[in-house]
Structure formats: structure tokens, C-alpha cells
């Protein structure tokens, strides 16, 4: 989804892609992969204590749970959500003028998910369900009517997440305001009902959005530790949690797999594979089946490749850990890669659509207001037209991908150290997974450098 909003190639339009093709991306790609490989090497040489110390958080001020305040902000968020739904149905039809489209796809999906992954659990404060559900329970004196069977694990969460990704990737018009209002309103109602029926367990196991947010929050710099606000290196919270169950581990891989395919599906390589001329892309409605098939295949392939890597890893050392257990154990190390992809993939969209969102914020009631003092405001894409700014943008994207992989390698090594006790064993068990991550770095950077047409 440079898909939902942008995709800035075109019949006659060169765009930043033209300048990217002129950059020495093969050099950058090798350097990026080498950086990840070097991290692997350095980790095997560093003393154990130094490595595990990297993820030790620093506690700061006392930090209560803020339960009451969060219910209040959730209700406010819900009110804002309702207002946005109304704007989606009754406001402008132009997706780049309609606040619903801009808030959902640009502010929330691109912006908030990124902040959630970088800083911590912001979603907890603006989740539009917790407040209304608590209020409804209190008013109607309702208890959860059913128990979500434990044997189903996180399967509902996986399904709802895949449904979300399917809309993002394969729906013909996910940014159409009225259509989006239908999807968003429908999903809210469905989740609201499920939360009333099944209780908070639905949020942890059935609601793909909440699960995604919870997993990204585990990467945040800030988290709560023993009643205090703690600060640590990206990943410290994930390493502090219990290893995920099988469903959650698969979910983490789907986060990366779906994000990766939502990039691959725009490349010339993919379009050529499905027999589509990238210079005359026939539109999203012509590739619905191909995108859905690709999404499933890409995820299946990723789960298999990762599974193979961890299986080979535990085979290399006599650890007493089964492959299934290892699969779950190391899955959180995939999260920073997924976040890196998210940032890299959406950066260009955000640079443009963020401006449209700003314009809407500057004049929210469409009265000609200038609340932010922007004055005459034209949306620009001039930064796609100059080699210097294109290089900066590309290297920022590549930096996000490489940083994600470096953190992933560090997290995986730390997990292995904690589990296996000594560096040699940890390094050996990590060798296949480390190779997998180096190769994935190559893939991610290749994606960024490839010409795109959809």
C-alpha cells in the first residue's frame, strides 16, 4: 500500500523511482546486509553479560495503571471515531480531502502504528472499545456470556488480522470514504459485540488489531515495570514477556509476511509474474485474486522458512528444546523487522498524505480556517524530483530495514543466551536464523530498490 494511497509511478510519470534506479543501490544493499552479518559476528565475540545487558531497562518515575483515565480517553476516542465515521459517510468523496480516510490510513495505520512500535503502548489510551465496553457493562450490569475456548488459541485473531490485511491489499477501493466507513464501523461493532460476549479475552485472542498493537507495543522504548515507567532499548519489553504461544508466534510472522508482500506486489517482478504491464496497470480491481493468493503464499512461505531456520538451529545444539517450542521462543525477534518494513514501506506515502492530513487539520470545519497558521498551502511532491532528497529518503527507508534486522539479530541472540546459557551454544543455535535474517535484509533492500508499477 504505497497501495492504498500512493503508488507514484505512472504512464508518463517518472517519480522518485526514476532517481532510485540511478542510485548505486547494489552497493547500499550489500552494505546493509553486511551490517547485519557483522552484527551477528560481533555478538558472538561480545561477553554474554554485555549482550544481555543491552536490553536491561532503566526505571524512572512511578507509573500507575491509569485505569480510570484510560477509560475516559477511550470514550473520547470512540466519540472521535463516531464523528469520523459520519464524515466518511457525509463528507467529501475525495479520499485526500476526507478526514476519515486520512485519519485511518495515514494518521492511524502509518503514523500511530509506527509510534506504537517506537515508543510503547499508545493504543491503550485511544483504543475505542475499552471505554464503551466498560460503560455498557456497568450500565447493563453485563458479564461475559461465553468463554472463548482455549483450544482455539489465537486463531480468531489471526483471521481478523488477515481480513484486515486483505482489505488493505486486495480491496479495490479501501480509501473510498463511504466504503471505509462501512468497514471501520462494521469492524467496531463486531469487535464490540465480541468483547461483550467473550470479555477481554477477545482483545487478546480474537481482535487482530489489538493483537497487532500489543505486539508492536512490546518493541516500545517505554513500558511499565514494577509500577514504574521504564525505558530501554527497542525489544526490552518483548524479551521481558513470556514467550508467545503458538498462535501469537504465527501472528508475529504474519505481521512481517503481510508487510513484505505489501511491497512485493508492486514490483515489476511480481507484475511480470502475474502477466501485468506495469506501465499500464489495470487497477486494483483487476488483481484482487492475485493479491489474495500472493498474500497467503507469501505468509506461508515466510512461516516455513522461519520454521526451517529455527528447527535447524535447535538441531545444531543439543538443547532439549523441540522445534515447536523454538518457533515460539524466537518469534518476538521478528517484530523489529516487521516494524522496519512498516516504516520503510510507508515513508513515501506519509510524506505526501501527511500533508493532506495537515491541510485537513488546518481547516477541520472547512470554513477557510487557518488554525495551524499554514497560510497558502499547496501539497508538494518536489522531494521526489531531486536526486539528493530521493537519496535521503531511500537511505532512511533502508536504514529502517537494516536497523530492524540488526535489532532482530540482537534479540534472537539474547533469547538464545538466556535459554542455552553460553555464547558458543547460543551462536551455533542462531546460525541458521542469522543467515535467514541476512537474506531477508537483502530481500527487503531489493524491494526498496526495485522498480514499481502498481
Amino acid at each position: 500500500m504505497a497501495a492504498v494511497l500512493p503508488a507514484r509511478a505512472g504512464r508518463a510519470h517518472v517519480s522518485e523511482q526514476g532517481f532510485v534506479l540511478l542510485l548505486p543501490t547494489d552497493v547500499y544493499i550489500s552494505a546493509g546486509a553486511a551490517c547485519v552479518a557483522l552484527t551477528v559476528l560481533v555478538l558472538t565475540l561480545l561477553p554474554d553479560r554485555a549482550v544481555s545487558g543491552l536490553f536491561r531497562p532503566v526505571a524512572t518515575l512511578r507509573w500507575p495503571l491509569w485505569t480510570g483515565a484510560r477509560l475516559l480517553t477511550s470514550c473520547l476516542s470512540f466519540a472521535g471515531f463516531l464523528a469520523l465515521l459520519w464524515v466518511g459517510l457525509a463528507g467529501p468523496r475525495d479520499p485526500l480531502a476526507n478526514p476519515l480516510t486520512l485519519v485511518v490510513w495515514t494518521v492511524w495505520w502509518i503514523g500511530l502504528v509506527t509510534l506504537q512500535g517506537l515508543f510503547g503502548n499508545l493504543w491503550r489510551w485511544i483504543n475505542p472499545w475499552t471505554g464503551p465496553v466498560a460503560l455498557t457493562r456497568r450500565l447493563l450490569n453485563l458479564r461475559p456470556a461465553l468463554r472463548l475456548p482455549a483450544c482455539l488459541g489465537q486463531s480468531f485473531g489471526i483471521l481478523t488480522f488477515l481480513a484486515f490485511v486483505a482489505i488493505l491489499l486486495a480491496d479495490p477501493a479501501p480509501s473510498d470514504p463511504a466504503r471505509l466507513a462501512g468497514y471501520a464501523g462494521g469492524y467496531w461493532l463486531f469487535t464490540f459485540a465480541a468483547l461483550l460476549v467473550f470479555g477481554p479475552r477477545w482483545a487478546a485472542r480474537g481482535d487482530g488489531i489489538s493483537m497487532l498493537m500489543r505486539h508492536y507495543a512490546a518493541l516500545g522504548l517505554f513500558g511499565r515495570l514494577r509500577g514504574r515507567l521504564a525505558l530501554g532499548l527497542t525489544g526490552w519489553q518483548a524479551l521481558h514477556r513470556h514467550p508467545p504461544r503458538a498462535g501469537a508466534a504465527v501472528f508475529m510472522l504474519l505481521m512481517l509476511g503481510s508487510g513484505s508482500f505489501d511491497g512485493l506486489n508492486e514490483t515489476y517482478w511480481w507484475l511480470d509474474l502475474i502477466g501485468i504491464n506495469p506501465l499500464e496497470f489495470p487497477g486494483r480491481s483487476a488483481v484482487i485474486a492475485q493479491n489474495l493468493t500472493g498474500l497467503i503464499l507469501a505468509n506461508a512461505l515466510l512461516v516455513a522458512a522461519y520454521g526451517l531456520a529455527v528447527w535447524m538451529g535447535v538441531r545444531l545444539v543439543s538443547s532439549g528444546i523441540g522445534p515447536g517450542q523454538a518457533f515460539c521462543l524466537f518469534a518476538p525477534s521478528i517484530l523489529p523487522i516487521a516494524l522496519g518494513y512498516h516504516i520503510a514501506h510507508y515513508l513515501t506515502s506519509f510524506l505526501v498524505d501527511g500533508q493532506y492530513a495537515l491541510a485537513a487539520l488546518n481547516d477541520p470545519l472547512a470554513r477557510g480556517d487557518d488554525l495551524l497558521g499554514l497560510g497558502t498551502f499547496y501539497v508538494t511532491t518536489g522531494f521526489f524530483n531531486a536526486p539528493d532528497s530521493v537519496r535521503t529518503i531511500w537511505l532512511t527507508q533502508a536504514g529502517a530495514v537494516v536497523a530492524g534486522h540488526v535489532l532482530a539479530v540482537m534479540m534472537a541472540h539474547t533469547i538464545a543466551l538466556r535459554r542455552f546459557g553460553d555464547t558458543r551454544k547460543a551462536a551455533l543455535s542462531q546460525a541458521p536464523l542469522a543467515l535467514f535474517m541476512v537474506l531477508y535484509t537483502l530481500f527487503g533492500l531489493w524491494l526498496l530498490a526495485s522498480p514499481r508499477g502498481a
Binding site: H13, S15, G18, D94, A173, R284, G368, N385
Partner: protein, 431 residues
């Protein structure tokens, strides 16, 4: 955008929120009760704007939108059409033919639009026009495609604000053969867009006594071109190139490396480099080469007052870039079509005494009856001649030479250079 325009366009967009769909954009400065009173007496003219907001046409869509809003502001500032304000209802077609048809349906059935207007990409026009015909919604396209004049569409589809690619291409042949050379090698992408250039230009250059000595079709997914250049025959005097897509800059760079300082004459279509700074590093090879331009991107010596006014209204500087960002190059060669089409719609509605959807056939007949349109603020690109039978407008074309990293007009064709025999007579079709 000027504050006033920004206010107006945002108001137009959000007016249903503020006023339950009743008031015209221009009425929004009035107190609420007055807006309702005015709205009761004069409903706005609703123009459904089918725009490439997302998908591969989005870069064009942004400038089509900006030009359209500027044109509507000017029309409304001057009193609207038949005393009624114009309201733009923009719908994203996703640069997708199927959605294009759905958007046309929404214009007719949901938004009560008087007409549909706007879109550029040929496949979207071809996908949408049949639905417009079925719904009897006048559909004014700004697409350059030959599909209107070829007869493949219908009486409800018109292209009165931008010339078609066939007329553009054939009008280049006299200049190319007279000034650059008679032995031409064509390099084009191997799909419909490139094939049109190949077929129209081959015939036109032969009519001028020239000859296409080689036709080099490049697969659309190609990103490196060095292996194609040795196919250019030695006898070639002119290379005619129309490459498009992200690999264009690579194409130019590699061609420069291949030829070095001793190149043949070069002629291209600005479509390759629309919205790209000609002075970009890597494009030095283009110095001294020629391009077709639909409308000269750089303000020329002797610039008309009309071009000056048009640039100011849209917010484009004398280099064809946004006034707010000199690197943000506009799609200047094409977007004037939106401005001129809306002025044709205004003139047509006024001539037809347009009151509402019942007058749609009268509007079409009024536009069909238009002939010559003089260079003016309504037609800042140049004079036009509308052919009512083929529903296609004809106009001057510009050939510019790259000099010191800017495009200077070397030749302006006559309208006669662009004409070709009619291929259809839509006026014979019933409404």
C-alpha cells in the same frame, strides 16, 4: 492555493457536512439562514470530477485537481454558469477502469451531477464512457486518447479541452522531416501507448517523404537499455523516443553513454519527463534535443497575458513548478485541458440555456456546434477548433528545444498540421 481558493475548495468538499448538502460553495460566507435561502433559489451546477487520486495516475491527478479547482474558482468568481455556482464533487477512480465506471454511476445516480468530467488515463476513459452513455450523462474527458475521435465511444463522451495523441503525433512529422532529418529510428514501449506512436508517426513521416528505418520496441518491464541501442541503424538521422515509466531516466543516461558527443538528432514526447525537472543530473544528454509539449512548461519570451493569468490562478511559476516549491514540477503539458474543458462546459451550458439534466442533450448539441475558439483566458494554451462530428478538439502543438536545462519553444504547429480525416460522426447517433 490562495486562502480564498483553499477555503472554497475545502468548503465545496465539505459542504454536505455544514449545510446538509444544500448550499453552493460561494454562499458559505453568508450567514447560515441566508445560505439556505440562496440555496433554495439556485441549486449549484454539480460537476462530477473523476480524478486519479490513487493508483498509477495519482501524480497527474494531483495537478488535474489543482487546475480544476482554480478553473472553478475563476468561473464562480465571475458569477458561475447561468447565474448558478459550480460545485465540484470529486470521486477517486483509483486509475482503475472498473472503478471509473462505478464513479460515473455515482455521479448520475447518487450525487445528482449534471455532467461527469476529468479523467486522464485511456483505459479508465474506455472503461467509463459506455456507462456514461447508458446513463445519458455528458462525460467530458481530458485524456489525450484517440478513442474519442476514433469512434469507439458514444455521443455522450466529448473531448473539447485537449487534443488527441494522433493529431499530436502527425503534427510533428513536418517539423521532424524538415528540420531534423528524414531517416527516423523509433524507440517506444511495447504496448498500446507505444504502438499508437509507431503507427501514427510512421504514416505521417512517410507522407512527408521521410522513412522509419528501424522500430525498436522495448518490453515494458525493461530497466536497462544498453542492449537495444546497437540496433539503431548507422544511417539514422533522428531518434524518436517515447519511453515512459520509472526507467526513463536510466534510458536517457544509458543513451547518452552509448552515443557520447556524436549523437543523431533526438525527438521525444514530454510525456516521458512530465513533472520531472529537465535540469536534473543525468539528463544533460538531452541538451539540444527536441520535445513535443502540449503547453510550454517554461514561460516563453512574449508570454501571453492568458498564460500569465493561468499560471497565477493555478499557482505555477514561470518554470512550470509550484509557486510553493520550485522542485514540484507540474504536469504542465496536459493539465490545461481541465481548465479549458470547464470553460467549454460553461460556454456550452450558457449557449444551451442549461437548467438541469433534461437539458443534457441540448448541452451536447451546443458543444457540437462549437467551432473555432480563440486564444483567450478561457483557452490559455492557444486557439482551438472543435470538431462536432468526432467530439474532438484540435489545437496548436509546441516543439521545444532543451537549451541550458530549460525548454524553449522552437516551433508552434498550425491547427491545420494537426487535422486528419474524420473517422466517425457522433451527431448521427441518437440521444
Amino acid at each position: 492555493m490562495t486562502d480564498a481558493l483553499k477555503a472554497q475548495t475545502r468548503r465545496a468538499a465539505l459542504k454536505t457536512l455544514a449545510l446538509g448538502g444544500a448550499a453552493a460553495a460561494a454562499g458559505a460566507n453568508l450567514p447560515l439562514w441566508a445560505r439556505f435561502a440562496e440555496a433554495q433559489t439556485s441549486e449549484p451546477i454539480r460537476i462530477g470530477f473523476q480524478v486519479h487520486r490513487t493508483g498509477i495516475g495519482a501524480a497527474y491527478g494531483r495537478w488535474y485537481d489543482r487546475t480544476t479547482m482554480a478553473a472553478v474558482k475563476r468561473i464562480n468568481d465571475a458569477g458561475g454558469i447561468n447565474g448558478r455556482m459550480v460545485e465540484i464533487i470529486a470521486e477517486d477512480d483509483g486509475t482503475d477502469p472498473k472503478r471509473g465506471a462505478e464513479v460515473v454511476e455515482k455521479f448520475a445516480n447518487q450525487h445528482n451531477c449534471d455532467i461527469g468530467f476529468g479523467t486522464l488515463f485511456s483505459h479508465v476513459v474506455i472503461g467509463s464512457a459506455p456507462r456514461a452513455g447508458e446513463l445519458k450523462l455528458p462525460y467530458f474527458v481530458v485524456s489525450e486518447g484517440h478513442h474519442v475521435a476514433s469512434g469507439m465511444l458514444n455521443r455522450y463522451t466529448l473531448q473539447p479541452g485537449i487534443t488527441d495523441v494522433k493529431s499530436q503525433v502527425i503534427a510533428m512529422a513536418p517539423f521532424v522531416s524538415g528540420n531534423l532529418g528524414k531517416k527516423v529510428t523509433m524507440i517506444y514501449p511495447d504496448f498500446a501507448f507505444g504502438h499508437d506512436h509507431r503507427d501514427y508517426f510512421s504514416a505521417a513521416i512517410e507522407a512527408q517523404g521521410g522513412e522509419v528505418v528501424a522500430r525498436i520496441a522495448i518490453p515494458p518491464t525493461e530497466t536497462s537499455f544498453t542492449k537495444y541501442f546497437p540496433k539503431i541503424p548507422r544511417e539514422t538521422e533522428v531518434v524518436y523516443h517515447v519511453m515512459v515509466g520509472p526507467a526513463v531516466l536510466t534510458f536517457v543516461k544509458e543513451m547518452g553513454e552509448f552515443f557520447g558527443p556524436s549523437r543523431p538528432e533526438m525527438f521525444g514526447f514530454i510525456d516521458s519527463l512530465e513533472a520531472v525537472d529537465i535540469a536534473s543530473p543525468g539528463l544533460e544528454f538531452l541538451e539540444g534535443t527536441y520535445f513535443w509539449e502540449g503547453n510550454p512548461r517554461y514561460a516563453q519570451p512574449g508570454q501571453t497575458s492568458h498564460d500569465k493569468m493561468y499560471r497565477a490562478a493555478v499557482g505555477v511559476d514561470e518554470n512550470g513548478a509550484s509557486v510553493s516549491d520550485p522542485k514540484d514540477i507540474s504536469t504542465y503539458a496536459h493539465m490545461f485541458g481541465c481548465w479549458e474543458t470547464l470553460n467549454v462546459v460553461k460556454a456550452g451550458m450558457e449557449a444551451a440555456g442549461y437548467q438541469g439534466p433534461a437539458d443534457r442533450p441540448a448541452l451536447i448539441e451546443a458543444v457540437e456546434a462549437m467551432g473555432d475558439m480563440p486564444l483567450s483566458d478561457d483557452h490559455p494554451q492557444g486557439a482551438k477548433r472543435f470538431n462536432g462530428k468526432t467530439h474532438q478538439v484540435f489545437g496548436h502543438q509546441y516543439i521545444s528545444k532543451v537549451e541550458n536545462g530549460r525548454l524553449n519553444v522552437a516551433h508552434m504547429t498550425s491547427i491545420e498540421d494537426t487535422l486528419y480525416p474524420d473517422e466517425v460522426d457522433y451527431t448521427q447517433q441518437s440521444f
